[in-house]
């Protein structure tokens, strides 16, 4: 099963720069995805946890992945231009607040614009501090987070208290943004999904989740992934921007105004994180609420690193997180059934390692596989605390199992001063 593969199309078309040896052809990828889905389907049937590939599950995964993905994209823009952005959380907070503040007064679309601008404002601050003053990027990001939290709380008390439907910690309601369900198709897919057939229903669930009750912002967010790829890797603008993250001094010698591109990148970064915030306050909910972002900015950052500073990878990271997050939220059985999936996957991995004559790896995988199978069969219910931890554990597990050869932009996080190149 792979939600990632549904959202990470750009990864397939990326040039042979990263990990040159293991590019799969599109048809191979389809085969792998299908095999994964089949395996997933078997687990579903074996466990009876039909929700794990239901239309609702996929739709929820998508909507939970969107804010994380947007924050991650924000991180990508900034870090590709060489500015580490730990301030995404703060920029996201600004997005939720400004989105709601404008949204309840002047309609949701104004809210979207203002939310993006609010996030961009956070980006601007980060850019001034890191680019103009050359301060350590992490300090600046941490300060942005503190300031954004403090400022929005302060502003809520002024702007929302006493307004009808508002309180010092919550904005009044915002009218909803449009969302669509593809008529006919969605219904038909949901119907097939409900039959719980092998494979076909799961496929229908995946497709159905992508055409059911899709908010306009979800569409925007999904489109932003290939768009980001296109802009950053296929346009002169993107080339210049990335050059600032790889070798700013070299870029400078070729007449690139490094400051300008860093500024643009960090401001766009803030805008994207802000859009993620707007998604929370206008689509996922319909009001601003203090603490609403709940650390999603950090998760977005993690998704970006998970995705090796590439749009496809980060979409996969956000997708994985959103997917497990919705499994966890929707039903306790889901996570229980994942134990079996884990056991099966690890058993397969063990076989593969055995084939490659790595006996220790193989043994470890087999033991863990056995344990999780044992766990699956010995209890009917995973303690709810472990269910809460599932998305985080999964992320960690995937990272630990897939070997990471992280390739961050070379000059990422290194303060740059014009005219100091030797």
């Amino acid at each position: 099963m792979s939600v990632p593969s549904t959202t990470s199309k750009p990864a397939a078309s990326q040039p042979k720069k990263t990990a040159p040896s293991r590019r799969l052809s599109p048809s191979m990828m389809m085969v792998v995805a299908a095999a994964g889905l089949a395996l997933y389907s078997i687990v579903r049937i074996a466990t009876g946890a039909n929700d794990i590939s239901s239309v609702g599950q996929i739709a929820a995964a998508l909507s939970l992945a969107v804010p994380i993905g947007l924050a991650g994209l924000g991180g990508l823009w900034s870090e590709r231009a060489g500015v580490v952005n730990i301030g995404l959380e703060g920029m996201m907070i600004l997005g939720t607040w400004f989105g709601a503040w404008a949204g309840y007064q002047w309609g949701p679309w104004t809210g979207v614009v203002m939310g993006v601008l609010g996030g961009a404002l956070g980006g601007l601050l980060h850019a001034i501090v890191t680019v103009t003053f050359g301060v350590n990027h992490i300090v600046s990001g941490v300060a942005v987070n503190i300031l954004a939290a403090g400022a929005t709380q302060y502003a809520s008390a002024i702007a929302f208290d006493g307004v009808k439907g508002g309180t010092p910690v919550q904005s009044p309601n915002i009218d909803p943004l449009p969302s669509w369900t593809v008529p006919g198709l969605a219904h038909w897919l949901a119907d097939i999904n409900d039959r719980h057939w092998f494979f076909v229903s799961d496929l229908a669930g995946v497709l159905g989740g992508l055409v059911t009750d899709i908010s306009v912002l979800t569409i925007v967010a999904v489109l932003l992934v290939p768009l980001t790829y296109w802009v950053l890797w296929r346009t002169p603008f993107g080339l210049r921007l990335r050059s600032c993250g790889e070798a700013p001094i070299a870029a400078e010698t070729l007449g690139v105004n490094v400051y300008k591109y860093k500024y643009i990148a960090v401001i766009i970064s803030g805008g994207l994180a802000g859009l993620g915030g707007v998604f929370l306050s206008e689509v996922a909910g319909n009001f601003y609420r203090e603490g609403q972002t709940g650390g999603r900015g950090y998760i977005g950052l993690a998704a970006m690193i998970f995705g090796n500073w590439r749009p496809g990878g980060l979409a996969a990271g956000a997708g994985l997180f959103g997917f497990t997050d919705s499994l966890r939220l929707r039903s306790n059985d889901n996570i229980h059934s994942m134990l079996l999936l884990l056991a099966v996957v690890l058993a397969l991995a063990a076989g593969w390692q055995l084939y490659r004559k790595r006996f220790i790896h193989s043994g470890t995988a087999l033991v863990v596989a056995g344990l999780s199978a044992l766990w699956y069969y010995s209890v009917d219910d995973v303690p709810s605390e472990f269910i809460s931890a599932a998305p985080y554990l999964t992320t960690l597990l995937v990272l630990a199992l897939s070997s990471q050869r992280l390739r961050m932009p070379k000059a990422d996080g290194i303060p740059y001063r014009r005219g100091e190149g030797k």
């Binding site: 720069k17 002169p236 210049r240 010698t253 007449g255 690139v256 070379k410 030797k422």
Partner: protein, 500 residues
């Protein structure tokens, strides 16, 4: 073709950066084509047809050659096929042999140098500034470069170039300007001066006299290396052998010079010897100890001195004061520490000593390493490594970018230590240095030691041909190779220079 020469820190690069708009002059004028100009950014200079190849590579490793080339000038041919076509065109016209779609990080230095030149040509520059373009090239490559430059000149382009290699300057320049401590000393025609006179103009005083050679080689082995093998573990060439069955012995009092084009395994050899790279196979014996399994710290404290090729990356903590840099690499040794404790007082005192003995020009030991000039940084490193009575010294490009005066000093120190029984592994791109200093020379090519030579008789050109893979085995001196015009000495060579 106008050459600029001068000591380290004379202001050559600074002057060029001003011409290129990277720095602003306090006063003065620049006239291009009879028109007074003032540049605020390199962009302005580029627009005026000025292009510059910098002393240090200005390339983004993680971008392709194509991307590095079009960056900043995307308006000309876009960033796609049109640009690729143009690059091929230029590459073919000047025989640069450029592959547009490889990552720069996978290129060797010579290829990078060509990419730098390509970048300039791509922009249609009429005035070329080349800041020490030859420092990392072997003689054949230098010749090829100059051939290209002559061709450009014949097309009406202007070339300004900077070099510390005075023979080179004399052979190609039409006019030479000497600068010293930021001012022009004089302008001369190459015909009117010789290398010695030029050097004296640069330094402002007489040069140290040439060394006398006396052998100090003993027959006590100090370093014995057998069967080193190492495969690349990443990148385009995963699995290729970067060290291929390397064996050699250095005796007490011997300097073994390794010649080779950069990227042929020298770096890996050094890493293997100081223990920062794990070998696939092979043994390293220092004196009587098999140190193959030793960690770096143990090796260094066990008598391996190390002058790294890149002092900024491997030799210094730039933001730390000199006395802390004196501790670096020898933290467990006296006078730097006692037991688990540092002894800053003793370390400071010893730094003072090094500064005095090795003539490190600094106002004090509390200044950061970054505020010293490169030459003085290098002297500090040499002083530090020599202070721990090494049994083996690994010296990689010990005088790179260092001016004539400091160079002589460093050579003297190495010789002196050799006299007292030090074994030295010398790796250098400066063939004159290699020939002048070594007792034995081996040539490294594609991870193998392919040739050896007697420094007393061999010429740089002969070495150069072995370095490009054109010659193998024991290099016997032949009179015909003395011809300085730089024909390939071995016509049957594979022309490996272009191959990669």
């Amino acid at each position: 073709m106008h050459a600029i020469v001068g000591e380290n820190g004379a202001g050559k690069s600074t002057l060029m950066k001003i011409l290129y708009g990277m720095q602003k002059p306090d006063e003065g004028t620049i006239v291009v084509d009879g028109e007074k100009v003032s540049f605020h950014t390199p962009g302005d200079a580029i627009a005026r047809g000025i292009g510059m190849v910098h002393q240090h590579f200005m390339l983004a490793d993680n971008l392709t050659v194509l991307e590095n080339t079009v960056l900043g000038s995307e308006k000309l041919y876009g960033i796609g096929d049109a640009a690729r076509k143009k690059i091929k065109e230029i590459s073919d016209a000047y025989g640069l042999g450029i592959r547009p779609d490889v990552l720069v990080e996978d290129l060797g230095v010579a290829d990078r140098q060509r990419v730098e030149i390509l970048k300039v040509l791509f922009r249609g520059a009429r005035t070329l500034i080349l800041d020490e373009p030859t420092a990392v090239l072997v003689p054949q490559e230098v010749d090829a470069l100059f051939a290209n430059l002559r061709e450009l000149k014949s097309e009406g382009l202007t070339v300004i170039f900077i070099s510390h290699k005075l023979d080179e300057v004399l052979s190609v320049a039409d006019e030479i300007t000497v600068i010293r401590r930021g001012t022009t000393v004089t302008s001369v025609k190459p015909a009117d001066v010789n290398a010695r006179r030029l050097a004296e103009l640069m330094v402002g005083s007489e040069l140290p006299s040439p060394q006398t050679r006396e052998s100090t080689v003993t027959d006590v082995p100090m370093l014995t290396v057998t069967g080193l093998n190492l495969a690349a573990f990443s990148g385009e060439e995963e699995g290729r052998k970067v060290l291929d069955d390397i064996s050699f012995t250095i005796h007490k009092g011997e300097i073994l010079g390794i010649a080779g084009v950069e990227g042929n395994g020298q770096t890996e050899l050094i890493e293997a010897l100081i223990g920062t790279r794990e070998l696939d196979s092979g043994t390293v014996v220092l004196g009587d100890d098999d140190i193959t399994a030793w960690a770096t710290r143990r090796r260094r404290e066990g008598g391996v001195g190390y002058i790294p090729e890149d002092r900024h990356r491997h030799g210094l903590l730039l933001e730390a004061p000199l006395w802390e840099n004196r501790i670096l690499g020898h933290v467990g040794e006296r006078p730097n520490s006692k037991g688990p404790w540092l002894d800053p007082k003793a370390a400071r005192a010893d730094t003072e000593r090094i500064v005095k003995e090795y003539d490190v020009r600094t106002p004090g030991i509390e200044v950061t390493a970054a505020s010293l000039s490169g030459g003085n940084q290098q002297k500090l490193i040499v002083g530090r490594e020599m202070s721990h009575e090494p049994r083996l010294l690994i010296a990689a490009h010990p005088t790179r970018g260092v001016d004539v005066g400091a160079q002589a000093q460093i050579w003297d120190q190495i010789r002196e230590a050799r006299h007292e029984g030090l074994a030295v592994l010398l790796i250098s791109a400066d063939l004159d240095e290699l020939i002048g200093l070594s007792d034995t020379i081996r040539v490294m090519y594609r991870g193998r030691l392919v040739a050896d030579a007697d420094p007393a008789t061999v010429t740089s050109e002969e070495l150069g041909s072995a370095m490009t893979g054109a010659a193998r085995g024991h290099l016997e001196h032949t009179e015909s190779a003395d011809d300085a015009s730089g024909e390939e000495p071995d016509a049957s060579g594979e022309g490996a220079e272009e191959e990669r």
